[in-house]
Symmetry: C2
Subunit: 379 residues, 2 copies
């Protein structure tokens, strides 16, 4: 069904789409390539919400290179179904029609049930040949959070952990500097930069007093691709069921948004001290008196495509064992700490090996002396 | 100093030497290549103690191919210094001289201080050009146990462990079938086959009642290279400080040698039930009432080049923290068991990250769904 040229050009479009990885949120990453007689005339990708879509960039480049008439017979390769509605920009399907494109190849349909298929229908109604499904897994894989949230109203949840080879995060006295090396710590910065919200627990905040922001200077090579101004900071979410956090936390000194989720209200006197970038949310508690995770992710799914869990063994374990996690990223240091060290992850006391969580290794990289494992979690 | 041909032929000799990995014990693996005008005339490797040395095989092949006179001008590449003494076979240095070899390239000198340099001297005295040291690290690396025992009187000690990603060996109730997959379990059989002695603790024997032998049928591809008869069984050593083992142990049903190491003597009535392949050894106990490991390895070093530790967290941890281990082989399953699971390795309760054992990753392989990590332990 697909020619080798089709595959080549869609691969190129996917590669272009990925360039928006750190900047398009809350929009998905999209790439577009326009060809005539199997030569690339124009290409582009979506850079930033509110800015032009990928198709608009590609069409602009193509029309510069060819006369309007010359786009007759041209093919557009798009990683996501072109939009059909007036949002912050006019519909891309309309633009493709207006420019006289003859064929559109779409990798994946828009997952939003309110939109899905309408862009394709608009193109077909205008007499354009539309082929759907080329490299669809790869294209969907660029935007797992967007796809999941549109389909199920829930964010893509990544649990990040770091440990020694024997699964310890610190010595018994809490000493842990440094288990992983500088390359891993820089990679965590990139991971934060890719996620729209970051969830941690009150224990981690009280113990480590972290800022949990993305530090542009620590992004490594990425800092050359994304300047400090267009770098999004993830929403920082602290689960603090008993409303213990006070505004002396270092977290408050960084001005990107903070959401404090508790099961009881904070004292008014305390709330009065909150700076403008801090807000509170009260959710139900679970049987252990902790913030109910189903309610949490339903809330975050209203706004955020992707959530990173950077927490201790208890919260990280609950997110996994309660089937909220899609992915586990484990930074593993080539060290052994011994059984007195602190455990990586708390899970229920399983009695049967058949009951343990089902994980599958999908990527493995070396980061300096450490290994980064990416595992898909099946629920 | 070395030509590219020298390096090529020594590499070949090292590759040949490795073919003896499972059969030469207690002798080292040795390979030999004989060339004339940079063409290989003969090659061979040491197969089995008591059988011909590598040089003898290579000379036999070379003389078949060329007249005796034709070996004038020939070069012999040997991975280990040729022997100079009459053992079970005549000295190889003498054979090389008698065949008119003109130059001998040696990778490493014999590490035995009683032998070292004598073979080389014998060759030089006969007017042969001898060059020493080409690919010496690689050649020594084939026989780490032989090298270490000759130099220090101690065996090469490998600790084998298997765990989940979070460093657990079983669920809290002991369930662990199967954390690692069949490929890893077959690899453990090969690891046992490469080691001359295998040490375990009484707890493991009482709990799992294992046989701890090498099962030819489970060796995988190796079973095609080594037939069941030439397969060595490692000495099975059980550390049983309080002399608790009884002859109902499944271990006794396999007739390869067993050494029971205790700190007190077994009751005579018990010893009377021991089959012929079982013997006892009494060693001093340490402060915890366990078999003193320094005494154990000194004893094993009298006879065995290589020792594999297949034990629980306590014994494996003691071997490492008391600086007896050279290497750690960790089979890591892509699973998470949670903090209730059993710990991989017991180490002292360190208070400073600077005190943890120093390990270095030297090899990593996929075995089915598992990863095998080989780490060098620095003491």
């Amino acid at each position: 069904m697909w020619s080798i040229e089709d595959t080549e050009f869609m691969s190129r479009a996917i590669k272009l789409a990925r360039r928006g990885l750190y900047t398009t949120r809350p929009n998905p990453c999209v790439g577009c390539v326009i060809t005539l007689d199997d030569q690339i005339l124009g290409e582009g990708f979506h850079i930033q919400a509110g800015g032009p879509h990928a198709e608009v960039h590609a069409l602009a480049m193509a029309t510069k290179r060819a006369s309007q008439a010359a786009l007759k017979g041209a093919t557009a390769y798009v990683t996501l179904e072109p939009c059909s509605h007036y949002g912050r920009t006019p519909p891309c399907a309309e633009a493709l029609i207006k420019h006289g494109i003859s064929r559109v190849v779409v990798a994946v349909e828009d997952p939003n049930p309110q939109v899905s298929g309408r862009g394709i229908k608009m193109l077909r109604d205008a007499g354009i040949e539309v082929d759907v499904g080329l490299l669809s897994d790869e294209a969907a894989g660029i935007n797992p959070g967007f796809m999941k949230r549109m389909e199920r109203g829930l964010p893509w949840v990544t649990v990040k952990l770091a440990s020694s080879l024997d699964g310890k995060t610190a010595l018994s006295n809490g000493a842990s500097k440094w288990i992983t090396g500088p390359e891993s710590r820089r990679d965590v910065q990139r991971l934060r930069a890719r996620n729209e919200a970051l969830v941690t627990g009150i224990e981690t905040v009280l113990l480590d007093d972290p800022c949990l922001n993305v530090r542009h200077s620590e992004l490594g090579l990425l800092s050359e691709q994304v300047d400090a101004d267009s770098l999004h900071q993830p929403l920082r979410v602290v689960l603090d069921s008993r409303a213990r956090l006070t505004s002396t936390a270092k977290l408050f000194t960084v001005t990107s948004p903070i959401l404090l989720v508790s099961c009881i209200d904070y004292p008014q006197a305390e709330k009065d001290t909150w700076p403008q970038h801090v807000s509170g949310l009260i959710l139900a508690s679970d049987n252990d008196g902790r913030v109910e995770l189903t309610a949490l992710f339903a809330h975050l799914g209203k706004t955020y495509n992707s959530v990173l869990i950077e927490a201790g063994a208890t919260l990280a374990g609950s997110v996994i064992s309660q089937n909220h996690a899609d992915e586990l990223i484990l930074y593993q240091a080539m060290k052994i700490l011994g059984s007195n060290g602190r455990n990586l992850i708390s899970l229920p006391d399983y009695t049967d090996m058949a009951d343990i969580p089902s994980v599958e290794l999908i990527d493995e990289r070396k980061l300096g002396g450490d290994t980064r494992l990416t595992l898909k979690i099946r629920s």
